[in-house]
């Protein structure tokens, strides 16, 4: 295991890649800065890693600090899912990945072209798979923890024109949005505000099961508040209303009330219905949603300018 790098954003010591993008950390001037040199002229830490390629991605969900790595090949699109606790946001992401894993194409004819967060996706998706030990279940709730920023799950998708689209799906706990919906400027709603400010595309997630259940009145009210918050933060960005658990049919008056409340504050609001349990041969709906995400006019996320001093043009400019 390598020693710590003086660069506080670099996690080489924890098995991560060099923050400045050197495939071989022993080439990095930051990594070699303060430690005593061995006889070969390298620090002990650099010597331990010399010649090996260390990757700037772990396969787990990315942090915001990781974005410049992939932003180097084009401006990424960040997809924010805004919905209350238990609305099915995590299940939506897991199902999306499984559908792509089964070779489905987005409605825009984009195909899977890679991901730097495969472990992150599989961690969500494995719950929805059959295994010898157990049948499928919903993924575990996303823990709120003490993080202030969401984990970002990456998908690279190749379009019919040959262009590559890097998309990041923010997997954030529902508790963030519950707080934000009730009090936009609450101190503990900072994380939701963070996501609202940085998403390129916003998905307003409505839980059909909650809207059909005994607490449907309150669920309707939450959706109105959520729509108002998204509208305040929108700033011209594309927003879609996504009905999750669409195998359940809420009362028509509830659906109309939610729709009306959303459309009052959000013009140009397409709607999508998704479910992991479609009836008969009905389409689950995820590829239609993905197609819209990829083709909606988006303001691409622009990460803060980092200081990259690598000579490798792959990392600085992409190819």
């Amino acid at each position: 295991m390598a020693g710590p790098c003086p660069n506080t954003y670099c996690y080489v010591a924890d098995g991560g890649g060099c923050h400045l993008g050197h495939p071989d950390p022993s080439d990095c001037p930051e990594f070699s800065k303060t430690s005593p040199l061995t006889e070969s002229g390298q620090t002990q830490e650099a010597q331990a890693l010399s010649g090996q390629v260390v990757f700037p991605w772990s396969g787990n969900a990315l942090n915001v600090q990781d974005l410049p790595f992939v932003a180097s090949r084009g401006q990424p699109v960040v997809v924010g899912l805004f919905g209350p606790h238990n609305a099915g946001k995590t299940t939506l992401l897991a199902a999306l990945y499984l559908q792509l894993g089964a070779g489905k194409q987005a409605a825009s004819n984009h195909r899977f072209a890679g991901s730097y967060t495969l472990s992150g996706w599989e961690a969500l998706a494995h719950a929805l798979r059959w295994s010898n030990e157990r049948p499928p279940s919903f993924p575990a709730h996303t823990p709120a923890g003490i993080r202030r920023e969401p984990g970002l799950l990456h998908l690279a998708l190749r379009g019919p024109d040959g262009g590559l689209c890097d998309t990041y799906f923010a997997d954030a706990p529902g508790e963030w949005f519950d707080r934000w919906a009730h009090e936009r400027d609450a101190p503990d709603a900072e994380s939701a505000r963070w996501l609202a400010a940085r998403s390129s595309v916003l998905l307003l997630v409505a839980d059909c099961e909650a809207l059909a259940g005994t607490g449907r009145g309150n669920a309707r009210k939450i959706m109105r508040l959520m729509a108002e918050r998204v509208a305040e933060a929108r700033d011209g960005r594309p927003v879609a209303l996504v009905w999750t658990k669409a195998d359940v049919t809420p009362p028509e008056e509830i659906v109309n009330a939610v729709r009306q409340a959303a459309r009052t504050v959000l013009a140009d609001l397409p709607e999508f219905s998704v479910t992991v349990a479609p009836k008969g041969r009905k389409d689950p709906g995820y590829m239609a949603l993905l197609g819209w995400i990829l083709t909606a006019r988006t303001i691409a996320y622009r990460p803060p300018l980092g200081v990259t001093t690598v000579s490798d043009p792959f990392l600085a400019y992409g190819r």
């Binding site: 090996q52 990757f55 199902a95 499984l98 894993g101 890679g114 499928p136 590559l164």
Partner: protein, 275 residues
């Protein structure tokens, strides 16, 4: 100009048997490709070929030392190539994926090779049944608790290719023309497909995400998908196959071209990559 070709695959991908059978074909000068002079390192593949001559499956010996085989080959037109097997049994591929570091020798091979041939074994892939392919009557009330899990087979191969591309310093903004990629679907005989089944269709069915990853990121001219049955039949490690003993392993094994036709020349997947 000599083409440099890298061959790799995970454990249990059929690499050992293909290497042994390929070695036999190259030494006997049976196919379009043959050994160009004496191969510097034959090592464990020669041992595996001896097992096949005895009618037995090659035993798997974990290689504690990193064994890098290099075979100089030449085709009937005089075009030369260097074949590199940086990893005998697939243990290093496993280490790369688990430890997430590529050793210097692999980095060099990834950077300098003109073509990569990756063995994948559809028959060993665990069935990827999920909530969409096999419905559960009622999912309500079922919530997962976080447990350990293993990357799916196709996700692992995609990750390996992503790592090698990074080690090579190649981006994917536009589809690749180099390095060329051949996906070799191994142990074809265990799949029981009808004649003229096309390997690309098998890849799409068994590894759909890998299929999309490869077809999205490589130009059509730079991507080849073939089938391979190195042995032609299953062999036992204990009970000798008499046909193998009598006819020799060179009488067995075939590749499946992209159009579904079979060919007994096991050197074809490599020969097609010579420029």
């Amino acid at each position: 100009m000599t083409t440099s070709i890298l061959l790799l695959g995970e454990s249990n991908s059929g690499k050992t048997h293909y290497g042994a059978q390929l070695l036999g074909r190259l030494m006997m000068r049976q196919g379009v490709l043959r050994m160009n002079g004496a191969a510097p390192t034959l090592g464990p593949f020669e041992t595996a070929l001896q097992s096949l001559n005895d009618g037995l499956a090659a035993g798997h010996t974990a290689q504690a030392t990193h064994h890098d085989s290099h075979w100089p080959v030449i085709d009937t037109s005089g075009r030369a190539a260097d074949l590199y097997w940086p990893d005998y049994g697939g243990e290093q591929v496993k280490e790369i994926l688990e430890l997430r570091r590529i050793p210097p020798r692999w980095r060099t091979r990834a950077q300098e090779s003109d073509a990569w041939i990756v063995l994948v074994r559809p028959g060993a892939a665990r069935p990827a049944k999920d909530i969409f392919s096999r419905r559960l009557a009622d999912l309500r009330g079922r919530r997962d608790t976080p447990t350990t899990f293993r990357l799916s087979d196709q996700a692992r191969i995609v990750e390996l290719l992503q790592m090698l591309l990074y080690a090579r310093g190649v981006g994917l903004k536009t589809p690749l023309a180099t390095p060329a990629l051949t996906l070799l679907l191994s142990c074809w005989d265990e799949l029981g497909f009808a004649d003229r089944t096309q390997p690309a269709d098998v890849l799409r069915e068994r590894f759909p995400m890998l299929h999309d990853f490869a077809t999205s990121n490589w130009c059509s001219e730079a991507l080849t998908i073939m089938g391979l049955s190195a042995l032609g039949r299953a062999l036992s490690a204990e009970l000798a196959d008499n046909d193998y003993v009598v006819q020799g392993p060179e009488a067995f094994g075939y590749v499946v071209h992209s159009d579904g036709t079979s060919d007994t020349d096991l050197t074809q997947p490599i020969a097609q990559r010579l420029t």
